[in-house]
Symmetry: C2
Subunit: 450 residues, 2 copies
């Protein structure tokens, strides 16, 4: 379609001049993008809708939260990724609801409707708070760039506020960092914080010693990294403890509030709590009107279509799929990529009148870094630890980052950080210290009164 | 002072254990930082207070606004810069008011007071809207990182919204970018936008042609870059016009609203208006209770002290100073640096009982870039244009950037951009497209009704 050659129709009316089947993809993450690419040469018209303008490399989001990387280092405009795919249009919008029977979705608070012939729901997941949505305000999770910037803000501001206060109890709470959830996100976050407190902030404060900060990783189950083999869980815990992180397993969090957390009945005063404990499918999934699992994810059929709606597919973290051996397919980037690609292929099969294919997850391996130059990994059945695992982690992440520019800038930031122990992105934006101080002071007064 | 060796006093009580004169510096920009550094070996206790945690390299702020650089590429934590200066403490806080007679300032909405022996007010400037503060919501200026991120957001969102609309008039307004003010900020912003519309967004849209965007630079005076020699103003205008920018001089803006601007009586429908037309001293200056100039800046004495208050000095954009030849000292980084250094030296002289020295501005030159590889410059009396001026501009800006990491990452971003025409930081965060769409649609309806 040549832009500006004639008065263009709105993207909602394109079917009037384009008779090709319309594939609507909701979400520009790994799954949505893979689906769009799998349909590059198909005789379809694709519209990819995302509420942001960028594809995000979520596996490195914790490095934005801990001031290593810039937001732009791990994100790329979706329309740049699809610029050469002539059958795809990218629209920035938030989808409110799906009407599976009328085959249309509504955008912009219900004011705009878009019809589809096929729908790919790849809207991802949000954090889950075990039925306590009120905890979110006190314990942000890590899914979007905004989440990461909020974490970075809280993290860096704690030291600023601690330098200003003269009350010892308040200072201790400001220098206590609690991470709830011992999965890869929690482990990687917990491993990065001691780097900052022990090295990056060295000599910069006059009234506090940032190295005295406490980092606690709380895991409800018997071991951290439960999806990894037990030997790697043990190694990861020892590596974290060597960095000064306190790891508590079998530790149930029953309360999160402005004063900290209550874990196994013990009140832990902490100004900064990060959440890495659970996910739930995007709220949009509920508008499909089909059964969801406990985590709000769509129970898809084997070919990733939605039961009763062969024209609607789900891919990525919004879907729940089981391996033939009964284990769940994990919510990781490679799984989302594979699901998206299969959905694209299955839409082609459906168009051709062929039978769709079932999803088979190919597990390329598991990887988690711990701090500066350690990691644990299981790749092709082999277990790796320490520096070798860390190098593998580094190589894999650079390889899968989208775009030459991001690869170069991430390598530059990492090299700089490795050589100097400094953080490149120690930037607090979008808030005032005063707001934090008031909250910290109020929590301190409550603790003293209690 | 050894951190954590004893229960530390609050920074407001430090005088109880430290008898050295207390120099309080408000603002961690070029002026405040230069003052702190000039006092590195002086027998004083320094507290530098800034509302942000970072020193900002303002001359490159327009490159954050136009998606070339990351916020962190041009900013450095203030406390990192002063980490080795043992007599300096950095505090993140917003100063509300100065009581010059009691020699103290109030922070945190008046709840905290800090006494000083010497005060250095280096709080900078904000945009001035010719007595129309209501214009600010429609035409953001460019002083802080938040300002630059807001500009970037509006700039990038316009194209997203234009791709979605089917109304030609609305699309034209979305693709019209008006810059008010032909000083260096306005010229550099205007020169960057065609780069993006003609190259960086190439092939990415299906319903609009970004290259059809209009860029208008409106200057109230008879020529752009009024502080430069007329021959360079002419050259800059020709260079901008060669890039497709419409330059209008003697053009008075009488209205800025959600529908665009009214300039010389003509209504220009535009969704995006940027402001580069005027500055006023930080509001904090007014709490000194001394005469200010029309732009709200402090009329300091020759030694940069405040009339009637020999212990209070002003430096940088918050002060108004005149050269011996009657011309004003410009509000540029080198002037702020020189003022800050002199204030530090004058405080030392005052402590020693010596006479303070007068400020003499040493003009190192003027520089402004225009687009991709052009600039105009006057350095040591010589005028430079075109590619030579651009190389000079590049060299000077890399040289004055603080920190090796920032120099390397800025060079990487520039090299990437130069080689590929791509923008590295095309990231929209902190808003929803829906809010913009509603505003754009409402403006369109108003225009149709009119």
């Amino acid at each position: 379609m040549t832009p500006a050659s004639a008065a263009p129709l709105s993207f909602t009316d394109a079917h009037a001049i384009d008779p090709r089947p319309h594939v609507l993809i909701v979400g520009g993450g790994f799954a949505g993008l893979a689906a769009a690419r799998a349909l590059a040469d198909a005789p379809v018209r694709i519209t990819l809708v995302d509420r942001t303008n960028h594809h995000l490399f979520q596996p490195l989001l914790y490095q934005v939260a801990t001031a290593v990387l810039n937001p732009a280092d791990i994100s790329v405009p979706i329309r740049w990724l699809l610029r050469d795919q002539a059958n795809a249009t990218v629209i920035m919008a938030e989808v409110d609801a799906i009407d599976p029977d009328a085959r249309r979705v509504s955008l912009d608070s219900g004011t705009v409707h878009v019809a589809f012939d096929y729908l790919v729901l790849a809207a991802g997941a949000r954090h889950a708070y075990f039925g306590h949505p009120e905890w979110e305000a006190h314990a942000p999770g890590l899914k979007s760039l905004e989440d990461a910037l909020e974490m970075r803000r809280r993290f860096l501001l704690s030291f600023e506020a601690a330098e200003r206060t003269s009350a010892a109890g308040e200072r201790d709470a400001l220098l206590t960092f609690v991470i709830v959830g011992g999965g890869p996100t929690g482990v990687e976050l917990a491993g990065m914080i001691p780097e900052v407190t022990r090295h990056a902030l060295h000599r910069e404060f006059r009234r506090i010693d940032p190295a005295s900060a406490r980092v606690l990783l709380l895991e409800g189950g018997p071991r951290i990294l439960p999806a990894f083999p037990p030997s790697l869980s043990d190694r990861a815990q020892r590596d974290l403890e060597a960095l000064g992180v306190t790891v508590r397993t079998n530790c149930t969090v029953t309360r999160v509030d402005a004063d900290g957390v209550v874990a196994n009945g013990e009140r832990i005063p902490a100004h900064t709590v990060f959440w890495g404990a659970g996910n739930q499918g995007a709220p949009l999934a509920a508008t499909l009107g089909v059964p969801l699992d406990r985590a709000g994810r769509v129970r898809v059929r084997e070919d990733l279509s939605v039961p009763g709606h062969p024209h609607i597919f789900c891919a990525g973290d919004v879907a729940t799929v089981t391996n033939p051996d009964g284990t769940p397919v994990p919510a990781v980037a490679p799984a989302a990529n594979q699901m998206g690609a299969l959905v694209g292929a299955n839409i082609r099969r459906h168009l051709d009148g062929r039978a769709t294919a079932p999803f088979r997850y190919w597990n390329k391996g598991d990887l988690a870094t711990i701090g500066r130059h350690r990691a644990v990994a299981r790749i092709a059945g082999r277990e790796l630890t320490g520096f070798v695992a860390w190098l593998t982690w580094l190589f894999v992440h650079i390889l899968y980052l989208v775009g030459i520019r991001n690869r170069v800038t991430v390598l530059v930031q990492w090299a700089f950080q490795y050589a100097t122990f400094q953080r490149g992105v120690r930037l607090i934006t979008g808030t005032t210290v005063h707001r934090l101080l008031r909250a910290s002071r109020a929590a301190h007064e409550r603790r003293r009164a209690a």
